[in-house]
Amino acid sequence: MRIKPAFENYLFVLPAAAIFAVFYIIPFIWVFQLGLYSWDGILPTKAFVGLSNFKEIILQDKIWWGAMLNAGYITLIALTFQNALAFLLAWACDREIRMKNFYRLIFFIPPVLSEIVVGLVWQWILDGNYGLLNNWLGQLGLSNLVRNWLSDPNTALTTVAIVHCWKGFGWGFLIFLAGLQTIPREFYEAARVDGANAWVCFRKVTMPLMVPVVVLVAILTILGTMQGFVLIIAMTDGGPAYHTQVPVLRILAAMRGSSRFGYACAQSITFGAILMTISFIQYRFSRYARQA
């Protein structure tokens, strides 16, 4: 009598489990397995090399770790600048202001645009010779600021990071706005009755209730930014030299440029493990913050 309902339950779960296994679990195991081989992606034979691909990534591949640092830098700017901007705009749009629906629409346009198109348009704007930005700076009498934004090693990575923030802040804006709208208005009214000003309301009501949303946006920002590469391909293709290389570009370089499929798979697994660790730490930290 008990076995039958259990069997039925498993049967209902089976399609989802099968899809998850076929498209996630099996490829993951496969990629890990390929990471243990030296293989060019074409030959039918592969040479088993054990963990040497992983060892090379961790101990020898300085370019890989440089790319990780670059991605970390872009992520840091996204976590601070992008998310602060998204929160600020969401908070403004949550208040009774004129044309708030129009602003909501405008702020959500950049994320829905194609990344490659956005990259190419910004590349055109930032072009050192005939770009709009340098032209405007010249007209404003700020010629000393004119530079090759994407070719100058001092500005390339920060420029790419700012474009990434422009492209991505709309997602955070939308989630923050949804979070703000779930906070009951009565809480604010009660706080005001108790004599709280706008800053105290923000600090004592909005912020504590927004912690789970902030954590969610932070996790999504880290995962999305660390894995970003399309904008960079369109704007600099990882150059000049290695100044805007990011991990996914290195994986692509190993797979396509060097025909080292096994190594690229090992890089993917290493990268996945790093992202999982960061997400886990952040999740634990958020639980701690909520309890506090």
Partner: protein, 432 residues
């Protein structure tokens, strides 16, 4: 049990749907349709027209399937190779090492018997340099049976170009482009003084840096020393290699390079040159079509990279532009070979050259092409290409080499530092 049946059926159907398509194509009898995969967006309309002509002539249908951009195309070919789903004819992008792996995996048909049939009539049609890119010689380092494994559809050379009108503006004789590196640097200084832009090229896509660096390596140290470097007998810290790196520093310092060249993609470089905003360009012969479309009045001419040494002759990259290969496992391989033989015949090659402004691989077609195209084709004899050397440099070394040159141009590293870094990567790869 009755109650469970719909659930069970749904689950089974889902599983069937998931696993459908995982099977391998089962080959059967030859069909009357030949499938060709390619990435050449600009040549697709001409290919479609030729397919129609071939069907009208033989009754055999040819399906040209375009997959662009080239990166996506390469991925598709690799995935198809892994699944044994390659079409009858396809093109291969990449290095000779990859070509060799495809042959070893049994995906590519040896075309030597077909080429040498009837006294080698088919083989004799082509420029030898174009065929060499698809050939494995007896001393090849890849362990491939010597033979011809691909058919060049067109040829290309990568050269310098200069704008004659901008030369006049600079007070330089437009019929006398710089012949020596010193003259080139002198023009670079004039360009800088006149606030103009110098050489533009797709050096953001690093392989084009490699082209020019190799041209100068041939000029400074000759082919044998380059091959010895690849074999590991000569280090990249050798003074001749340092001199090659130094040339890029000199170009940058003189003003001969356009600003922002290190992240410039070739499309942007082509736009700048076509719009007369750059004095020089370093580009492949495919640019003829591009410039014609962007600016039909552009007054320009090709020139060899100005020589930096009198020790060895200057060589330029060139050879087969695009090649087609036949799937060795195709049930239509005989038909595919016949189609390629027809495609590279004189009339079809003239049509392709006229319709696409690419240089024909068939030597006999040259008399019917535009003069500017002939200028490019005339330098075919001095071309070289890594795919004809019988040995390949490690991709990691090539990356370190090209990225190193970018570092020199942006003033981050000295030629000596880059040479040392490239040598370090080389030693690491050789020790692996």
């Amino acid at each position: 049990m009755k109650r469970n049946s719909p659930v069970l059926t749904t689950a089974l159907l889902l599983l069937l749907l998931i696993t459908a398509g995982c099977g391998q194509k089962i080959s059967g009898k030859p069909s009357n349709t030949i499938t060709v995969w390619h990435w050449m967006t600009d040549r697709d309309p001409a290919f479609q027209e030729l397919a129609k002509r071939y069907e009208a002539r033989t009754g055999v249908r040819v399906n040209f399937e375009l997959y662009a951009p080239s990166d996506a195309y390469s991925q598709k070919v690799r995935a198809a190779a892994q699944g044994n789903n390659l079409p009858d004819i396809f093109g291969l992008l990449g290095e000779k090492r990859d070509f060799a792996s495809f042959i070893k995996a049994g995906h590519i048909l040896d075309l030597t018997p077909y080429m040498q049939d009837s006294g080698g009539a088919w083989q004799k049609r082509f420029f030898a340099k174009a065929l060499a890119v698809n050939e494995f010689s007896s001393d090849n380092a890849y362990g491939i049976t010597p033979g011809i494994y691909g058919v060049p559809v067109d040829i290309m050379t990568i050269q310098m170009l200069y704008n004659k009108d901008l030369f006049r503006k600079l007070g330089i004789n437009p019929d006398r482009p710089p012949a020596t590196f010193a003259e080139f640097l002198e023009i670079g200084r004039k360009i800088k003084d006149n606030n103009m832009q110098g050489l533009v090229s797709g050096w953001g896509e690093i392989w084009m840096i490699d082209c020019l660096a190799n041209d100068y390596a041939f000029n400074i140290m000759g082919k044998d020393k380059i091959l010895d470097t690849i074999r590991g007998k000569v280090p990249y810290t050798d003074p001749d290699w340092v001199r090659v790196f130094t040339l890029f520093k000199q170009m940058q310092d003189s003003g001969a390079l356009a600003s922002g060249i290190v992240t410039m993609v070739n499309k942007n470089a082509e736009q700048l040159f076509a719009n007369e905003r750059a004095v020089f360009a370093f580009n492949g012969s495919w640019c003829l079509n591009v410039y014609k479309e962007m600016n039909p009045n552009l007054n320009y001419a090709p020139m060899l990279p100005p020589k930096a040494s009198d020790k060895f002759p200057m060589s330029i990259w060139g050879g087969a532009g695009s090649s087609f290969i036949v799937n060795a496992r195709s049930k239509n391989k005989e038909g595919a070979v016949k189609f390629l033989e027809w495609l590279t015949d004189r009339d079809q090659q003239v049509y392709l050259a006229e319709a696409t402004d690419n240089l024909p691989s068939n030597k006999d077609s040259l008399s019917n092409i535009a003069p500017i195209m002939a200028e490019f084709a005339n330098d075919m004899e001095i071309t070289t290409h890594p795919n004809t050397w019988g040995i390949s440099e490690y991709p990691q070394v090539i990356e370190a080499f090209d990225k190193g040159i970018q570092s020199i141009i942006i003033g981050e590293k000295t030629p000596e530092q880059v040479a040392a870094q490239v040598e370090m990567v080389k030693e690491r790869e050789m020790a692996r």
